[in-house]
């Protein structure tokens, strides 16, 4: 499972796509596979603020609960409401239809490249 080169990553297995002052955030294929089949997501509501590496949501599989860490300071402008009825999109298409939230960020932290993240997950 290749991690897309155009994305940046966090140590908490999230991916970040920066476009202007908005970052789209999801979890990596590695994280989705490790969680198992995702059956429920609890995402922060638009308008709520995020703080770097603070928990801002939960992702539940049949077997376990994973926490979503905000990869940056900012404000949530959109969360992926389609996941309410189809959380399995996170397993099936983590870098596309399985995106989680969009953050209008105030500051971008240092993020990992695809190659650096690949080293972290032992690829």
């Amino acid at each position: 499972m290749a991690n897309p080169e155009n994305l940046q990553y966090t140590k908490e297995h999230e991916w970040v796509l920066v476009d202007g002052d908005v970052a789209t955030v999801g979890i990596t294929q590695y994280a989705a596979d490790a969680l198992g089949e995702i059956v429920y997501v609890d995402l922060p509501k638009p308008g709520s603020s995020t703080s770097y590496m603070k928990i801002c949501g939960e992702i539940e599989s049949t077997k376990s609960v994973g926490e979503l860490y905000a990869p940056m300071d900012g404000e949530v402008i959109e969360s992926n409401s389609a996941l309410g009825n189809a959380p399995e999109a996170i397993n099936q298409d983590p870098y596309g239809a399985g995106w989680l939230i969009k953050i209008k960020y105030t500051q971008l932290p240092e993020l990992l490249t695809a190659a650096e993240y690949g080293q972290l997950t032992g690829e």
């Binding site: 198992g36 089949e37 059956v39 429920y40 049949t62 077997k63 397993n91």
Partner: protein
């Protein structure tokens, strides 16, 4: 870590693995929800070779088992299976077991992987009182495969030389499966009709493949994740969750399987005492709302209550029912009955739950 004789099969099917009771076991092959639904709607194939098989033989085998198990083993007929419990002298549950009577002086006992040695030690200690009995740990001599689901009988029927209609629920018989002598039991841990097949190790991989080939799209290989959600929906206890060494069968709603009228047995004195007094905690079934499932170890409260009344032992969003289900040990003196409202603390948020009757799910037979 121990591996089952079917390990290579799981690897080639792309399974994800986990350590379970010291065994490297498949958790899932693809989607554990697909595997779960396959068992409810069609059929699933499980490798459960990690289960312990203990063989008890000898002139006093029946008398011996009656001295250490809570059920009346003398009432079993040949080919009959019984779900039972082995307790320590203090009444605490060492393990839950299935006992198969193979011959008048010959029993096959199936124990949980993690308890196999504890069961063996307890039995050996009892045997040392002078019973004419021999106990053999045959766990690694057998592969054990479960085929479960409404289509299990038809799929298996194509490969065996016996009429499966004759093999009643909770019974066992010798059979030939694709020419290999096996033991076929109509038992399972999913709440569906199905069979557990004891296969000699050397033949097990070829039989596993033949079953999958015969089942085709109607039969999915299933991992422990699906096994756990299936057994929970069926209200079946899992040792280490609903059962443990500090509980007696009475807290676990299994008092009915304790046969006090059969004569002496190791835990009789203590269990009689427990059965005659009020229990402190008892196992209940709980049902939630929405999609957010309370998990094992989460605390349960009366609505608005500040003091925990107990803890969940297993909890999941039920794949079949679509709402959260859980089993929990709760205080026994609160008059909790089906419909009683409760709250679970789900990582800091109170979510509504209510008591329901077990099992959560029952197959139409």
């Amino acid at each position: 870590m121990l591996t089952t004789p079917l390990n290579d099969e799981h690897v080639s099917l792309g399974a994800t693995f986990t350590d379970f009771g010291g065994w490297n076991m498949p958790v899932r092959y693809g989607s554990d929800l697909d595997e779960h639904h396959a068992v409810r709607n069609s059929a699933g194939l499980f490798d459960i070779s990690h289960m312990g098989e203990l063989h008890v033989v000898g002139a006093e085998a029946t008398k011996f088992l009656d001295s250490i198990l809570v059920s009346d083993i003398s009432k079993l007929s040949i080919g009959q299976a019984k779900y039972t419990i082995i307790c320590a002298k203090d009444g605490g549950i060492i393990d839950d077991l299935i006992v198969y009577k193979m011959d008048p002086e010959d029993y096959l006992i199936v124990a949980n992987a993690s308890n196999r040695h504890a069961v063996l030690v307890a039995m050996q200690d009892m045997a040392d009182y002078g019973f004419k009995v021999d106990i053999f740990d045959e766990t690694e001599d057998w592969a054990l495969v479960a085929i479960q689901g409404p289509k299990a009988k038809d799929i298996l029927g194509k490969l065996v030389d016996t009429d499966l209609t004759e093999l009643k629920y909770y019974s066992i018989a010798k059979a030939n499966l694709a020419g290999v002598p096996v033991l076929l039991a109509r038992t399972g841990y999913t709440g569906e009709d199905g069979f557990e097949i004891y296969i000699p190790v050397l033949e097990s991989a070829s039989i596993w493949r033949k079953l999958l080939a015969t089942g085709g799209k109607d039969l999915l290989p299933c991992g422990l994740a699906a096994r756990d959600t299936l057994r929970l929906e069926a209200g079946m206890p899992l040792y280490g969750h609903e059962l443990n060494r500090t509980l007696t069968p009475f807290e676990a709603n299994l008092g009915r399987i304790v046969a006090f009228d059969k004569g002496e047995f190791n835990s009789k004195t203590e269990l009689l005492k427990v059965s005659g007094q009020k229990l402190e905690t008892k196992l209940f079934g709980l049902k939630g709302e929405g999609k957010r499932a309370a998990r094992a170890d989460y605390e349960i409260f009366l609505p608005g209550g500040e003091t925990s009344i107990g803890k969940i032992t297993s909890g999941v969003l039920s794949p079949t029912l679509g709402y959260p289900i859980a089993m929990a040990y709760l205080k026994a003196d609160l008059d909790l009955t089906p419909g009683s409202k409760l709250e679970a603390d789900v990582r800091g948020t109170r979510v509504p739950y209510e008591i329901v009757k077990l099992p959560f799910y029952k197959a139409e037979r």
